[in-house]
């Protein structure tokens, strides 16, 4: 009977997490992307459907659901129709090992498996099969080029990504995501063994951006040269499934980055005056940007927003510590603040930088990130052994 209950629990959790992610991850991911891009480029973005255009993506999804599925005549129909499902499922499966926070003394995670981050990188590497299959089966030269670019890119960047994952696993002494967060109670891994934590975090962030095919690494779907790359032939909901997979994976990468290097759901433990100082610093920065000519510079606008939000967070922390609450804010709020901070960073990068060339892209991975990641791992391992 317990097997039955277990299966039921897994199915319910799967439905819950996947629907939540399908709605928040993809629909509002697209909405925020469009809104933030508009804001960075001094446009309005979507604004007609619902208040502030909030219902725009729902309208778009309904539209896409009604569209006809077109399978090109010379395409390999079976592979063509399976590819979007592979991408979407692989993107959503990442979320099994990601803990969202704690509630009622339990960790909110679908499954805390002892090979957590190996599982994560295995699932992340599955997306490329779907992309290659989509690119090939469309029987379209642009789609095939996009698929091949994506394959070479993802294979190259998987290695620095794995090296950065290993760095965190080495410091924590475990592969479980919950274990890695627990190991950061003393402080974030980003600031451990300075400056090597910072280097590992940077390598992870760059490799993760490339792994989810986002600007400045979005060669597989480069609109200006490949129409839309590997999903050029897809219509209706199949196209939406690619978007879903892409956004699910981007959010998962941001979540894992916050788990590995920013302490996941843990609240940073700092004395009250440090929080007050940080808040004042953020306020001063915001005021400086607001009241100088800098606010005209498009690149600076996101910094202003981040500074204001950071000041609000620091203010909350100062008041909370003053009232004597031990975990001042709920753990889920911390997790989502860190995750959405990183998502915002990824979107900021996308709308700020131009695309790399393919040879620059591969050169960056093999000539810069790989040696840096390896040396980082080696030196940190040496330092940890000496310190012990």
């Amino acid at each position: 009977m317990s097997t039955f209950v277990e299966i039921l629990k897994a199915a319910l959790l799967g439905v819950l997490v996947f629907t939540f992610l399908a709605i928040v991850g993809a629909m509002y991911g697209v909405y925020f992307e469009r809104k933030i891009s508009g804001w960075i480029q001094v446009r309005y973005g979507p604004k007609h459907v619902g208040p502030w255009g909030l219902l725009q993506t729902i309208a778009d999804t309904l539209k896409l659901l009604q569209k006809e599925h077109i399978t090109p005549r010379r395409a390999d129909a079976m592979i063509f129709n399976t590819a979007p499902i592979i991408v979407a499922v692989a993107g959503l499966l990442d979320w099994v090992v990601i803990p969202f926070g704690t509630a009622f003394g339990r960790v909110l995670v679908v499954r805390d498996i002892n090979i957590g981050i190996v599982y994560f990188s295995a699932m992340a590497s599955l997306t490329v099969i779907g992309i290659l299959a989509a690119g090939w089966s469309s029987n379209n030269k642009y789609a095939l080029l996009g698929g091949l670019r994506s394959a070479s890119q993802m294979i190259s960047y998987e290695i620095p990504l794995a090296l950065a994952l290993l760095w965190a696993a080495m410091l924590a002494g475990t592969l479980s995501t919950v274990g890695i967060i627990e190991a950061q109670r003393g402080g974030w891994f980003l600031f451990k063994v300075p400056p090597f934590g910072l280097i590992a975090g940077l390598v992870f962030l760059i490799a993760a951006t490339a792994e989810v095919n986002r600007m400045p690494f979005d060669l597989p779907e480069a609109e200006s040269e490949l129409v839309a790359g590997y999903f050029a032939e897809y219509t209706g909901m199949r196209f939406a499934l690619f978007q879903l997979g892409e956004y699910a994976e981007m959010f998962a990468m941001a979540a894992v980055a916050s788990i590995l290097f920013l302490g996941g759901w843990l609240e940073p433990t700092m004395p009250q005056w440090v929080w007050a100082l940080l808040g004042l610093g953020a306020l001063a920065l915001a005021a400086f940007i607001r009241f100088s000519a800098l606010r005209q510079v498009l690149l600076v606008r996101p910094i202003l927003a981040l500074a204001v939000l950071g000041a609000v967070l620091c203010g909350l922390m100062v008041v909370g510590i003053g009232l004597g609450r031990t975990p001042v804010l709920p753990s889920m709020l911390w997790f989502f603040a860190k995750m959405f901070g990183l998502v915002f960073f990824l979107m900021w990068m996308r709308w700020t930088y131009p695309r790399l060339r393919l040879d620059q892209l591969l050169g960056l991975s093999w000539k810069v990130l790989l040696p840096v990641g390896l040396l980082n791992l080696l030196i940190t391992g040496f330092l940890l052994t000496v310190a012990r």
Binding site: S125, A133, I155
Partner: protein, 163 residues
């Protein structure tokens, strides 16, 4: 009982795409059929409580080897899914050899006294794997890394010559 059912389902997941791999006339379909096969083997590893090996199986075989095979197919000439023949005129001879091999293997499986002993596998295998790599099997580990290094250097030499 449940274990047997899972074993049968996983065997089907491995064998049916496996048959497609060796019979399909479309080489890309053959390569993509490898993916469910690898997942079936992953299921076996999980049944044997070798979670780390299961994770590595998905990461290396399903995620990397298949992609490498597809990559090679698509980059070589005439490889874009054209009809390929997987058999030639030697079918009877090959079938005889395969049948003999299957018969011999069945004989071995039936004749071997598989000893069953009550015992539990170790709870968590990743640290144990690391420990044994750096103690009992350090020579094999190092030789493997040497092989990888040679392959890497060979790839670089070949790539340089073409320029």
């Amino acid at each position: 009982m449940g274990e047997l059912a899972v074993f049968i389902i996983l065997s089907a997941v491995i064998l049916i795409p496996g048959v497609i791999v060796v019979t399909s006339g479309n080489i890309v379909r053959s390569a993509l059929s490898l993916v469910p096969t690898f997942f079936g083997v992953t299921g076996f590893y999980i049944m044997l409580q070798a979670e780390f090996v299961a994770g590595i199986q998905v990461l290396i075989y399903a995620g990397a080897i298949t992609v490498l095979i597809l990559f090679v197919i698509m980059l070589t000439e005439g490889g874009s899914g054209v009809e390929v023949r997987q058999v030639n005129e030697q079918v009877p001879l090959g079938a005889t050899a395969a049948l003999w091999l299957a018969f011999l293997m069945l004989l071995v499986f039936v004749r071997t006294p598989w000893s069953l002993s009550p015992g539990r596998p170790p709870a968590y295998s990743a640290p144990a794997i690391g420990q044994s790599f750096l103690t009992n099997y350090v020579l094999i580990f190092e030789v493997t890394s040497l092989v990888l290094l040679v392959a890497l250097i060979g790839a670089i030499v070949i790539a340089r010559r073409e320029e």
